[in-house]
C-alpha cells in the first residue's frame, strides 16, 4: 500500500486501518494482563473450591464452598476486616486533611517553593518496607526518638509508650506511618487542582466581603471536589490493600491483622492454598465492589 494513493483507490478506509492497527498495538498489553491478571484470578477461584495445600503431595479434593464457610466462621477474618476498614477510614481522613493543608501551603508563593515540594515528595518516593523499618526504630519504647521527643525532651507525656507492644497503639503507629508516606500524593493532586482556580473567583468573593474560611468553603472546596474525589478513590483502594507496613512492623500479630496479611499468613505461612485462595477471592470482590462504586461516582463527576 503506497502512501500517496488517492482515497478512492485504497481498499480500506482510514478509519478501518486505524482501528485495525490500534487493536494490533493493544494486543501485547491485553495478552500480558490476561496472563498475569485474569488467568491467575480464575485459577485462584478454582483452587478456592478445593482443599489444596502447598507441596502436600496428595491430590486436592473438591470441597466446593467449604472454605468460604470457614472464612465466615473465623473470628480472625472479621478482626482483619474490621482492622482494615478502621485503618482505611482513619488514614484516608487524616491524609485528606493534612494533604489539603500541605497543598494550601505549597500554593502560596514563596522562595524555595520547589525545594519544599521536593522535600514533601520524599516520603512517597521511599520504599514502604524500608521506611517502616526506620519508623520501627523510631518507635522503640526505650530508646526510640518518638518517645524521646514526647517524654524526655518536650515533656508532652509523662510515660513512654510501648507503641508496638499493644494492638491499639500499634495500629495507631501504622496509620501514622501510612499517612506520613501517602499524604504527598494527596497533597500534590489537590495542589494541581488548586493551581487551576482562577483568581477572579477569589477576588469576587473579596468584593462580597468573604472571610478566609468562607472563601475556603464556598470557593475552594466546591471547585476542588473532583480532585478530592479522585484522591479519595485512589487512597481508599490503596489503604484497603495495606500489607507492607503491617507485615514489617508486627507481621500482623497482636491483633493488628489486615485483610492482606491475613491472606498472606494462611496462603504462605500455613501453606493452606485452598483456604488462602478463598480469602483472596473474597478480598478481590470487596475491592472490585469498591472500584465499581467509585467508577460510578467518577462517571457522575465527569457528567457534571
Amino acid at each position: 500500500m503506497s502512501a500517496r494513493s488517492s482515497p478512492k483507490e485504497r481498499p480500506f478506509s482510514l478509519a478501518q486501518r486505524e482501528e485495525r492497527l490500534g487493536w494490533i498495538l493493544l494486543m501485547p498489553a491485553i495478552l500480558v494482563l490476561i496472563l498475569v491478571g485474569l488467568l491467575p484470578l480464575i485459577h485462584t477461584f478454582t483452587v478456592s473450591l478445593t482443599n489444596a495445600y502447598m507441596a502436600s503431595g496428595r491430590e486436592p479434593r473438591m470441597t466446593w464452598f467449604h472454605n468460604y464457610q470457614m472464612i465466615v466462621r473465623d473470628s480472625e477474618f472479621w478482626l482483619a476486616l474490621r482492622n482494615t476498614l478502621l485503618f482505611t477510614a482513619s488514614s484516608v481522613t487524616l491524609e485528606m486533611i493534612l494533604g489539603m493543608g500541605i497543598a494550601l501551603v505549597l500554593n502560596s508563593k514563596f522562595r524555595g517553593r520547589g525545594l519544599v515540594r521536593a522535600a514533601v515528595l520524599i516520603p512517597w518516593a521511599l520504599p514502604t518496607a524500608v521506611s517502616a523499618r526506620v519508623w520501627s526504630y523510631m518507635l522503640v519504647d526505650t530508646y526510640g526518638v518518638i518517645n524521646d521527643l514526647l517524654v524526655t525532651r518536650l515533656h508532652l507525656l509523662d510515660e513512654k509508650i510501648a507503641w508496638l507492644a499493644r494492638p491499639g497503639s500499634a495500629m495507631a503507629s501504622m496509620v501514622i506511618i501510612d499517612v506520613w508516606k501517602t499524604t504527598p500524593f494527596v497533597a500534590l493532586i489537590l495542589l494541581a487542582a488548586l493551581q487551576l482556580i482562577p483568581r477572579q473567583l477569589y477576588e469576587a468573593a473579596d468584593v462580597d466581603g468573604a472571610t478566609a474560611w468562607q472563601k475556603f468553603t464556598r470557593v475552594t472546596l466546591p471547585v476542588l471536589r473532583p480532585a478530592i474525589l479522585v484522591a479519595l478513590v485512589f487512597r481508599t483502594l490503596d489503604a484497603m490493600r495495606v500489607f507492607d507496613v503491617i507485615w514489617v512492623l508486627t507481621r500482623g500479630e497482636m491483633r493488628t491483622e489486615s485483610l492482606a496479611t491475613y491472606n498472606f499468613r494462611h496462603m504462605v505461612d500455613f501453606r493452606n492454598l485452598g483456604y488462602g485462595s478463598a480469602v483472596s477471592v473474597v478480598i478481590f470482590f470487596v475491592i472490585a465492589l469498591l472500584v465499581a462504586v467509585y467508577m460510578m461516582l467518577l462517571q457522575k463527576k465527569d457528567n457534571d
Binding site: E18, A29, V47, L126, R133, V134, T142, F243, F284, I287
Partner: protein, 273 residues
Amino acid sequence: MRRVFLFISILFVVLYAVFPFYWAVNGSLQPSQNLFRTPADYLPVPPDFQSYGTALKNENFPIAIRNSAIVAGGATLLSLAIAVLAACALARFRMRGSGVVLAAVLGMTMFPQISVVGALHSIITRLGLYNTLTGLILSYLLFTLPFTVWVLTHFLRQLPRELEESAYIDGAHPLQVLWHVLLPLAIPGVATTGLLAFIAAWNEYLFALSFTITDNVRTVPVVIAGFVGGGLHEVPWGPIMAAAVMVTLPLVLLVFIFQRKLVEGMTAGAVKE
C-alpha cells in the same frame, strides 16, 4: 503576620516530611552504642562510618541492590515498550471499545496483588521461574503495565494533533503516523512514566517476598525489612540505617532533580487541565 504563619507552616511541613529520613542518616553515622542510649543523640558529630562498613560487608546487601536494579529496570523497560504502543492506540486511534479498554486498565491499577499471589506462585513455578529475577519481572508487569498505559495515554492525549492531521492529509498510513509522528512525540512522556514505574517497582515488597526464597535473588526492600544481623539479642540498627540511607539517598536525589516531571506523572489523569 501572615508571612510568619506561612513560614511556621512551611517549617512544620518540611520537618514532618524529612525527619524520618534525617533520623536514618543520623542513626547511620552514630557509633553503635549511641543508638541504644536515651536521651537520644540528634547530631552525628563527629560522624562514625562504621555502620556503612558493616552493611556493605554483609554480602546480601550489595547483591540485593543489584537484584533490585535488574528487576526494576527490566520491569520498567518491558512495560514501557508494551505500554507506549497501547497508549498510542488508545490515545490517538479511533477504535470502538477503546473506552472500555481504558476503563479496564484503570480498574487494573487498583487490582489487589494479594489476590493473585498464590496463583502467580503456581504459574511462575510451572514456568520454572520461581526464585528467579525473570519470574519477578514478569509478576511486576501486573502493576507496572496498567499504570504505564494509563499515564502514557494521558500524556499522549494532550499532544497537539496538527502533526498527525497533516500526515493523514498527506495520505499517510496509520503505521507511518505511529512511527514518524506519535512515537517521537511520546518520548518525554515515556521518560516520566518510566521514572514513576521504576520507583514503584524498586519499592515493591509483597511479590518480592513471595516469589524469592534465597538471598542471592532477594531485592532491597525484602533484605532491609528482614535484616536481623548476627546472633546478638540487640537489633543491628546502625547497619540497618546505613543500608536504608544508601538505598534511599539515590531516590531522594532523583526526587529533587525530577520533581516537576514526577508531579506531572503522579497527577496524570487526576486533574482535568
